[in-house]
C-alpha cells in the first residue's frame, strides 16, 4: 500500500530526474506516465500504481506547485474520460500498452464514433456496418457518424458498428479502435447554431480495421459501449467550483457593475437562479464528499440535468439583462475550436451553446428515464424493439 508520504517522495524523485524547466513537455509527460503518476489508480506499467483514485489530487497539486506541464486534459477529454477506461476494462495487454501512454500524454487525440444521423438517443439502433474479411483478418466498415468532437484532430476513434443485422439491436454490435488516418475516413465539419464547427460528420467508406483493433468479443460491443458511456457521465460531479463560479459569475458581475440595467423582474429571476446555482454547487460538493468517503450517491446521475437547465436559464437571463447589447453577437465566422470553453465568450454565444447541454452526452429526456428507472426503480415503458432483429426495425 502506497501512503501519501511515499507518493510525495515518488513525485519528488520524478521532479529531480526530469526538472520541468529543462525537460521538453512531452518528455516530462512520458516520464510521469512511466513513473505511475499519470492516473495513480491505474495498474503499474499502465501509468498508475494501483492505489486509490483519491490520491491523484495530491500528485496533481504537488506537480502543479513545481511548475510541471500538464497534459491539457480538456483537449484530450474524450481519450481520458471515455477511451482510456474502456480500453483498461476490455483491452488486451497489447492494446493497453499500445494505446494508453500516447493517449494520456496527448500525442494521440481520440474521438468517439457512436452517434449516427438515424441513431442518437436510440444509440443501439446504429446502422454502420462492419463485415469481416476473413482472408485479410480485417473488418470493412461502411456508414456515417455524427456529432464527433475532435474528429479533425483525432488520431484514433472508439467506434461501434453492426456486425450482425439478424440479431436484435443490442446484440449484433462490435466495438473497434479505428485509425482516423485510414483510407476511407472522411471528416466534414458540422456547423452549428453558434456559427462555429465544434463537431464533425464522419463518413466511413470501405474503412479497413485489423481484427487486432477490436475491443472485446464480436457481438459484445453494447456492453463495452456502456462502460464508455458510464464514464462519460461520471466525470461531471467531480469538479469543485467556488461560490458564484460557472455561468452565474458573468451575470452577477454585470448586475453589480451596471445598475442602469436593473429591473425588478430581472432581479427576481436573477436571485432565483443565483440560489439554484449555489444549491447545485452544494449538491456537487456533497456528491464529491460522498465519493471521497467511499459511499457514492446516486446524485451523479442527476447533476448533468441540473447543470444543463441552469446553464440555459442563466445564459437566457444574461442576454436579456444586457438590453441592447443582447441584440448583438460577437462573430458568426465559422471556426473550428479545439476545445469547448464558455469563458471569454459573449452572452449570445453562451445562450446558443448552452442549448446543446441538454442534448449532448445523453439528452435530458434520456437522463430523466435513467434516474426514474435506476434510482427510483420505476418500470420501463413497454418496448417492442428488444427482441426484433435489427434489420426488421422501422427506420
Amino acid at each position: 500500500m502506497t501512503t501519501a508520504d511515499e507518493l510525495r517522495l515518488h513525485v519528488a524523485e520524478l521532479l529531480a530526474a526530469h526538472p520541468p524547466a529543462d525537460t521538453p513537455r512531452d518528455d516530462f509527460l512520458r516520464a510521469r506516465f512511466d513513473a505511475g503518476l499519470a492516473w495513480v489508480h491505474y495498474p503499474e506499467g499502465l501509468g498508475g500504481l494501483g492505489v486509490p483514485r483519491s490520491l491523484q489530487a495530491l500528485v496533481d497539486s504537488a506537480l502543479e506547485a513545481a511548475g510541471a506541464p500538464d497534459n491539457d486534459p480538456r483537449r484530450i477529454g474524450i481519450g481520458l474520460g471515455m477511451a482510456a477506461p474502456t480500453i483498461l476494462a476490455y483491452g488486451t495487454e497489447e492494446q493497453k500498452r499500445r494505446f494508453l501512454r500516447p493517449l494520456w500524454v496527448g500525442e494521440e487525440v481520440w474521438c468517439q464514433l457512436f452517434s449516427e444521423p438515424g441513431a442518437g438517443s436510440d444509440l443501439a439502433a446504429l446502422g454502420t456496418r462492419a463485415v469481416l474479411d476473413e482472408a485479410a483478418g480485417e473488418w470493412v466498415v461502411d456508414g456515417q457518424k455524427v456529432w464527433t468532437s475532435s474528429a479533425h484532430t483525432a488520431r484514433w476513434a472508439i467506434l461501434i458498428a453492426r456486425t450482425d443485422p439478424d440479431l436484435p439491436k443490442h446484440q449484433g454490435i462490435t466495438y473497434f479502435l479505428c485509425d482516423m488516418h485510414a483510407p476511407g475516413v472522411e471528416v466534414r465539419p458540422l456547423r452549428q447554431i453558434t456559427g462555429e464547427a465544434e463537431f464533425n460528420e464522419v463518413f466511413l467508406t470501405g474503412v479497413r480495421i485489423p481484427d487486432g483493433h477490436r475491443l472485446g468479443a464480436v457481438g459484445q460491443g453494447w456492453a463495452v459501449a456502456r462502460t464508455t458511456l458510464m464514464n462519460e457521465r461520471v466525470s461531471i460531479g467531480g469538479m469543485r467550483i467556488p461560490r458564484e463560479g460557472g455561468m452565474i459569475a458573468p451575470v452577477a458581475a454585470t448586475w453589480r457593475e451596471r445598475p442602469d440595467l436593473r429591473t425588478h423582474d430581472l432581479h427576481h429571476r436573477l436571485l432565483e437562479l443565483w440560489v439554484e446555482a449555489e444549491v447545485a454547487r452544494l449538491t456537487g460538493e456533497r456528491l464529491r464528499q460522498q465519493l471521497v468517503a467511499g459511499q457514492p450517491g446516486p446524485e451523479g446521475s442527476g447533476m448533468k440535468l441540473t447543470f444543463a437547465r441552469l446553464n440555459q436559464e442563466i445564459s437566457a437571463l444574461e442576454v436579456e439583462l444586457l438590453g441592447e447589447e443582447g441584440l448583438l453577437y460577437e462573430d458568426w465566422t465559422m471556426r473550428r475550436p479545439e476545445i469547448v470553453d464558455f469563458t471569454g465568450r459573449d452572452a449570445g454565444y453562451r445562450y446558443l451553446r448552452a442549448k446543446g447541454n441538454s442534448i449532448e452526452g445523453g439528452t435530458s429526456e434520456i437522463l430523466l428515464n435513467i434516474v426514474a428507472e435506476r434510482v427510483l426503480g420505476l418500470p420501463a415503458e413497454p418496448r417492442d424493439d428488444k427482441d426484433l432483429a435489427w434489420k426488421d426495425l422501422a427506420r
Binding site: 461560490r243 464528499q289 426514474a372 420505476l378
Partner: protein
C-alpha cells in the same frame, strides 16, 4: 460578497444516523399517519406522549444546550436530523418551537443568570415545555414585533398573533419593549385558531397584566430572538427536506403499484420525468439543508447567506413534493383518509414560517450584494411612451 470558507461537511455522521434511527423508530411506533389523523381534530392536537419520549427519553429537547447547562451538547447538525424525521412524519410535536427556537433564545440570553439557567435546564430535560410567543411567520431580518409592553409593576400587556404550539406550552417567552420575559401559560389567555396545518396548532396570545420573570434586557432580548430566528429558519429547511422525501418515496411506491391502462402508471414517461425531477430537487434540498445545519453548527461567517439559500430553496421543494404527491395519487390524494393532505398543509404552512422563499431571496440579495433596482425607474433609452 461573503467569501466561502472551507467547504461545508454535507454528509451525515454515524452519530447522526444513530439519532435518526432512534427518532424514526419512535415515530413509527407512536406517530403513524392514522393516529395523527385521529388526533388533529380533537381539542388536543399535540402528541404529549411522543413529545415526552422525544424530549426526555431521546434527549432531543436539549440537543442544542451545552452539557453544563443540562443539555446534550450536540449541535445544529443533530437537531437537523431530528427535524428531518419529524418532517417525514408530520409529527404533531413542538420540537421546532421548543427544542430549537426557545432553546436558542434562552442560550442567547445570559446563561450565567439564575433565571435563565434554571429555565434552560428544565427546558433541556423536557421537564417544562417553553415556546416563544412570536408569530410563526416572523422571519430573520424582519422587524421584531412590538405588541407587548411592560408596565412599571413588572406586568405585561399586549397580544401576539399566530403563535405556534402555544397550547402545549408550560411557559411562553415573551418579547416586550423592556426585554424578554418568561411567562407561565397560566398567566395568559390563549385563543386557539383554526390553522391550515393541523399538525402545528396556532393560537393568539393575550397578556392582560400577566406576571413574568425578566430574563434579559431589551437589546439582549432582540439579539437573542434574531439569532434564534436564523437557526430556526436554517433548521426548518431540514424539516422541509424530510417532508419532501416522504412525499417522493410514497408517491414512487404508489405509481409503481397503481395500474391503469393495463400498466403501472409509473411506467408512463410523463410521470417518470416528473418524479425524476422531483428526486433531483430533493437531492439538491438535502445539500442545501445540510449546508445550513453545518454552517449553524460551526458558526461559519457566511451562515446568514447559507441559511437564506437553504430556506429560499427548500420551501419550494417541500410544497412541490406535497403537491405532486396529491396529484399523482389521483382521487386518493384528495381524501381526508390518505395522509397526503397533512403533508401538503404542513409544507404550505412551512413555506410561510420563518420567512417566505421571497423574503429569503431578498436576504440573499443583501448578503451576495445583488441589490434591487434603485427607487428611480431606469431611463427609457428610446421607446414609445404611453
Amino acid at each position: 460578497m461573503t467569501s466561502p470558507r472551507a467547504p461545508f461537511d454535507l454528509l451525515y455522521s454515524e452519530t447522526e444516523e444513530e439519532l435518526r434511527s432512534a427518532v424514526r423508530s419512535l415515530l413509527a411506533d407512536r406517530c403513524d399517519p392514522a393516529s395523527i389523523l385521529a388526533r388533529v381534530e380533537t381539542d388536543h392536537p399535540h402528541d404529549p406522549r411522543t413529545w415526552q419520549t422525544l424530549a426526555a427519553g431521546i434527549g432531543a429537547a436539549g440537543l442544542l444546550v451545552p452539557e453544563k447547562l443540562g443539555g446534550q451538547g450536540a449541535s445544529h447538525r443533530e437537531a437537523a436530523v431530528v427535524l428531518e424525521e419529524l418532517g417525514r412524519a408530520v409529527a404533531p410535536v413542538p420540537y421546532l418551537t421548543a427544542g430549537v427556537l426557545a432553546a436558542e433564545i434562552l442560550l442567547g440570553c445570559d446563561p450565567s443568570s439564575d433565571a435563565v439557567s434554571a429555565l434552560l435546564r428544565q427546558v433541556a430535560s423536557g421537564e417544562r415545555l417553553c415556546v416563544p410567543a412570536v408569530p410563526l411567520t416572523l422571519a430573520p431580518g424582519a422587524p421584531l414585533p412590538t405588541g407587548v409592553r411592560a408596565t412599571g409593576a413588572g406586568t405585561l400587556t399586549g397580544s401576539v398573533t399566530s403563535v405556534a404550539d402555544a397550547a402545549a406550552a408550560d411557559v411562553l417567552l415573551v418579547l416586550a419593549d423592556t426585554g424578554l420575559y418568561a411567562v407561565p401559560a397560566t398567566e395568559v389567555t390563549l385563543t386557539p385558531l383554526v390553522p391550515l396545518d393541523l399538525t402545528r396548532p396556532l393560537a393568539g396570545v393575550t397578556l392582560d397584566g400577566a406576571a413574568g420573570t425578566r430574563l434579559a434586557d431589551a437589546a439582549t432580548a432582540r439579539a437573542a430572538v434574531a439569532g434564534a430566528l436564523l437557526s430556526g429558519a436554517g433548521l426548518l429547511a431540514s424539516e422541509q427536506l424530510g417532508l419532501a422525501q416522504w412525499c417522493l418515496t410514497e408517491t414512487v411506491a404508489h405509481v409503481r403499484g397503481r395500474h391503469q391502462f393495463n400498466r403501472p402508471i409509473g411506467s408512463f414517461q410523463a410521470l417518470k420525468h416528473r418524479l425524476a425531477r422531483l428526486w433531483l430537487d430533493v437531492a439538491s434540498a438535502r445539500a442545501a439543508a445540510r449546508a445550513a445545519a453545518d454552517a449553524l453548527a460551526t458558526g461559519a461567517p457566511d451562515t446568514p447567506l447559507t441559511v437564506a439559500v437553504a430556506q429560499a430553496y427548500c420551501s419550494g421543494v417541500a410544497v412541490r413534493a406535497a403537491e405532486e404527491c396529491v396529484q399523482l395519487h389521483g382521487g386518493i390524494g384528495m381524501t381526508w383518509e390518505h395522509p397526503a393532505h397533512l403533508y401538503l398543509k404542513r409544507a404550505k404552512a412551512d413555506s410561510l414560517a420563518l420567512g417566505t422563499a421571497g423574503h429569503h431571496r431578498g436576504l440573499v440579495a443583501e448578503f451576495a450584494e445583488l441589490p434591487a433596482p434603485g427607487p428611480h425607474p431606469r431611463t427609457p433609452a428610446a421607446g414609445p411612451t404611453p
